[in-house]
Amino acid sequence: MRKSNLFLLYLLINITLLALLFAHSFLGENGGSHALEEKREMVRQYQLTDLCLFTEASYTRHLSVADRHTPFQDGPMTLEHFPSGSILAPPGKE
């Protein structure tokens, strides 16, 4: 087989795979709606306000209800020292 045909075939396979990813994402979104509804019901029942992403400090566990100055109140020499503090953008007022 000519090299150009192989290359075009390779591109075609990649485009097909990309299309399959879109299909997977679409199916996952619809298939996951039941699980999502269950989780949303949990949020409603337990009146949760945040995702459980960073459990290392109270102000990173509940980002939306934490004070902006909390990191500095944990101790007199405490600048922001938790690694997640370097990942998160500071809360902004838009």
Binding site: F7, S25, L36, C52, P83, I87, G92
Partner: protein
């Protein structure tokens, strides 16, 4: 048309043969390029998916939260504040919320203790998240030790655990009865942690918040839209994760561009000179360089994007885990709902393929206008 296609295919044939002659260099280039695309794709997929998941899940969050602030710190709020808030026109239901943190010295982890609004667990029993069960090796029926505010140790029985698929919201949760919660933290009966409000008309939220602040000046009000905005802002491009990876990717492209713009290798110059001496037109050489760039960048782009998707949605972003975990003892294992849209793919394309193509334009023009005589004479 057929002639045009044949011409392109002939040039692609030649391009691929030319690339294969320098296979080590080009393979290394494609590997690094793929890695850059993979990292960018993983970050874009992850941040979009988590922001979307947060916005969908937090639709069920309280519409308004009222916290009491004393000396700049949040303090338990007296339950009689409910009556004052209920007197404001437009306020639906007002409920007291009991929740707090418990530091477990055994493993050094923080848990979130919550008293549910309904379906309270029986006194002496708890329902825990999977992350906690994993960290403390607990199962249904096991007992967990808690040290109360007065130093008294008491045991609570694990009645149930949350499903694994809900770890993103429940990993560190301990659902506890009201009496156990008050016993543990010594919270007076007339106080709750904060208040949650339901508001009939969402457009009245800011007016109601202003009225509450006027009636109860020692309170801080958090609106649901602020909760949602928090998660929208967390993973924006200024956030550390995005910035570090964008910086790395930009640096990689500067190196690519420098490599390309600094000119052609002696071998490439000789090849181009020979082609021109054999009768290739300038446009043919430019076309050759175009296909060379496309073969490299498209291969890297597709492979990087596909690997990025697999990494985020099939392998739970395993490479990001150490970064996200930080110093957390208890980390949720979660799979995000797959979400990609054409906008993300176009963004990735413009961030990766376009800079590379632009960086190859000038060298390819220089290559195409090379004088065969001077090159072949050396």
């Amino acid at each position: 048309m057929d002639t045009w296609i044949q011409r392109q295919k002939n040039i692609i044939d030649f391009t691929l043969s030319s690339l294969l002659r320098r296979k080590r260099k080009n393979a290394a280039l494609v590997c690094v390029y793929t890695l850059v695309v993979f990292l960018l794709a993983s970050v874009i997929f992850f941040t979009h998916a988590i922001k979307r998941e947060a916005s969908l899940l937090l639709e069920g969050a309280p519409e308004m939260i009222v916290q009491r602030m004393i000396a700049g710190r949040q303090d338990p709020i007296p339950i009689h504040y409910v009556e004052k808030i209920q007197g404001i026109r437009g306020v639906g239901s007002v409920r007291g919320r009991l929740w707090g943190y418990y530091y477990d010295p055994v493993v050094g982890a923080n848990y979130t203790l919550v008293v549910p609004e309904s379906k309270h667990p029986e006194e002496g029993s708890i329902r825990i998240g999977q992350g906690l069960a994993r960290t403390r090796l607990l199962d249904v029926g096991d007992e967990m030790e808690f040290k109360a505010h007065d130093g008294v140790i008491f045991n609570l029985t694990v009645r149930d655990t949350f499903a694994e698929k809900s770890e993103l919201i429940s990993s560190d949760l301990v659902v506890i009865s009201e009496s156990d919660f008050r016993k543990l933290f010594g919270l007076a009966p007339g106080h709750v942690t904060d208040l949650t409000l339901a508001v009939g008309n969402p457009r009245e939220q800011s007016t109601i918040a202003a009225k509450i602040a006027a009636v109860l000046p020692d309170t801080r009000i958090i609106l649901k839209e602020e909760l949602l905005r928090t998660y929208d802002a967390i993973f924006n491009w200024r956030g550390g994760l995005m910035l570090v990876i964008l910086f790395g990717a930009m640096l990689a492209f500067i190196i690519f561009a420098w490599d390309k713009a600094s000119g052609l290798s002696a071998e490439e110059r000789r090849e181009t000179g020979t082609l021109k001496a054999l009768g290739w037109e300038t446009s043919d050489v430019i076309l050759l360089k175009f296909w060379e760039g496309m073969a490299i960048s498209l291969s890297a782009f597709f492979t990087g994007v596909i690997l990025g998707y697999v990494h985020v949605f099939f392998m739970s972003s395993v490479l990001f885990e150490p970064v996200l975990k930080g110093w957390s003892v208890l980390y949720p294992k979660f799979k995000l709902t797959p979400f990609i849209d054409p906008y993300q793919i176009v963004t990735l394309f413009f961030l990766t393929v376009v800079p590379y193509t632009v960086a190859t334009i000038i060298p390819s023009w220089r290559a195409a206008t090379i004088d065969p005589d001077s090159v072949m004479r050396g």
